[in-house]
Symmetry: C2
Subunit: 353 residues, 2 copies
């Protein structure tokens, strides 16, 4: 609890005057004012986060948290539970979507076992920080105790504290966990008071019948565990997941370390709801990567007041959306650092009119 | 006219069965089917364009066509006419938005003087293919003769034929020309039968009063020159621009060479309307980069049946939107080439359900 408390305390509000200072620089570059749209917003946000500097992004990391979900025994996913562990091995071998996209970006992929139901002993490259071998089945009992949820948050914090200490300048979040759209929809419904039907989508691509079943399972979980909407730790423990906790912790640590944190898709945004509920000032450090095809994601983003950068009908998770958005952040910062000003390039500025 | 005729003849319809063939490969990769959304569509389109291969994109070029517009003397832009030439020099010096973004992507920027009202003699790095020193003022007379319009189309074709011969694998289009949103809006209104008001936006950022004036100028140009909506060459010559013609020619040559062509923003999409009117099969080779903030762009894209990849509130032109979309195409192809299949990675496939 100590690490969590210290991290929450370390998150300070963004100095909004720095956004205007950044914009004054961007307005001197050889382009009509504001004509690079959201790239200019991104550059200004990064400027303010770093305390008033435009720095090229050279070191980026995607922190991928993997865990299993007890609720999978209710038959809510198209894939068997073993796929979580199989995909972790695929990440470590470099064959998954996130690996290809992170290589393309030039970012490091950090794979964290925070709760996979598999013994990875001796597997190289894995950050082994297992809190539990998967959550309990929330349809029958709380997924975690409050202590376990805090431990998982603190794993996320510790992972990002280490990345920050190693000089990582921006962070993307990612997830792997069969069953984790079920947990994320439950978090959304519990925290935001949404109906389970509106909060629940097809995950990996389930049928109408399975979707109706998934909705009933989440309704049963909420009725059984009674999460308290005013207590984010209670919601996280009762209907969340270990990887969701890890991602929320990563966001809190990123904000505390004054790093831009790119929020991936549905699972990561559920984690962002929790992180912002725990520390509202954290929101200013977050960048929403994309609008996921998963139902409920748009409402989540609205609750957070975040406007996604991309809308490419993606729903893979793993941090794949985050890599694309980190690429936009990187180019936005290059623009701020490298474009010529009107004065430097001897280009006439706008006429009065 | 000979080069144009030969190019139009060389454009063949896409083999649609290759799209399904590409999708069968993408469905074997370790991710839920379709979960990479529009990246999968992009990879499949590139596969079909190349005749049935997934090839990593290593050589890309942005062809930026620059020209002046006689209609600027009516006071339709916020910037003086000299800015076209000043920005060409900025491109050649590497200081403009397109330079930074193309460097970031690893793409070459090819700057073509197709009609700038400036003598660039001796300036290194410029592709000097001036057809005229700017168009005539379309509010008083046709902007170009039909012969001049064809000559400008053929400059675009020749530039891209050379790039294709040098091994460029994908192309982005770009523009520079003070006054060119005025010409593009006129092309849209004339070709698509849209009201000038609906086709006209703020360009570099003009006021309400200037916008109303710009609308009246375009209405006057259409009334004066009477372009024939059924004859794209007539529309291009009377109310188009030299860079718009060059871009349209580049698109035709790209399709003829079986290259994916990424359409930038408002100006490039006006050129795409003309290219597709001249050769409907060209459409399948085009990729719409983004939804520009310029009014009328959404209607243009709908007329073409193209769905933009990005919506970042950009309105700079130069090919800046195209560079971002080429980056997406590049990562889409890496995914298709590098991701592990379920079999290779020993990952269980979806359960029946």
């Amino acid at each position: 609890m100590e690490l969590l408390t210290a991290t929450l305390k370390a998150i300070t509000p963004l100095d909004e005057s720095l956004l205007a200072e950044a914009q004054r620089h961007l307005d001197q570059l050889t382009k009509p004012q504001g004509s690079l749209g959201r790239l200019e917003e991104l550059a200004a946000q990064a400027y303010a986060i770093s305390g008033g500097r435009f720095r090229p992004l050279q070191r980026m990391a995607i922190a991928v948290f993997a865990a299993d979900h007890g609720v999978v025994e209710e038959g809510v996913s198209l894939y068997p539970r073993e796929v979580t562990a199989q995909m972790v091995l695929n990440f470590l071998a470099g064959g998954a979507g996130i690996n290809v996209m992170a290589r393309h970006l030039g970012a490091e992929v950090v794979v964290v076992d925070i709760g996979v139901d598999h013994d990875f002993a001796g597997v190289p490259g894995l950050v082994a920080r297992k809190v539990l071998r998967g959550t309990r089945n929330m349809a029958r009992q709380p997924a975690m105790t409050r202590q376990e949820a805090v431990a998982a948050l603190e794993v996320g914090i510790a992972v990002v504290n280490e990345l920050a200490a190693r000089g990582v300048q921006a962070l993307g979040t990612g997830d792997m966990g069969i069953g984790n759209t079920t947990a994320s929809s439950a978090v959304l419904a519990a925290l935001a008071g949404l109906s389970v039907e509106d909060a629940t989508g097809r995950g990996t691509g389930i049928s109408d019948a399975m979707l109706a079943h998934k909705v009933r399972v989440i309704e049963r979980a909420l009725a059984c565990t009674q999460p308290d909407a005013r207590d984010p730790l209670d919601v996280l423990a009762k209907v969340g997941g270990l990887e969701i906790a890890g991602i929320a912790g990563a966001m809190l640590a990123g904000a505390a370390a004054r790093l831009p944190v790119v929020v991936d898709g549905f699972i990561s945004t559920a984690a962002a709801l929790l992180a912002v509920a725990l520390a509202p000032a954290c929101r200013a450090y977050l960048i929403a990567a994309h609008r996921s095809a998963e139902r409920g994601h748009t409402v989540m983003l609205e609750k957070l007041g975040l406007q996604p950068l991309l809308d490419l009908d993606m729903r893979l998770g793993e941090g794949t959306g985050a890599t694309l958005a980190l690429g936009l952040l990187q180019v936005a910062l290059r623009i701020a650092c490298e474009m010529a000003t009107f004065g430097e390039a001897n280009v006439s500025t706008a006429l009065d009119g």
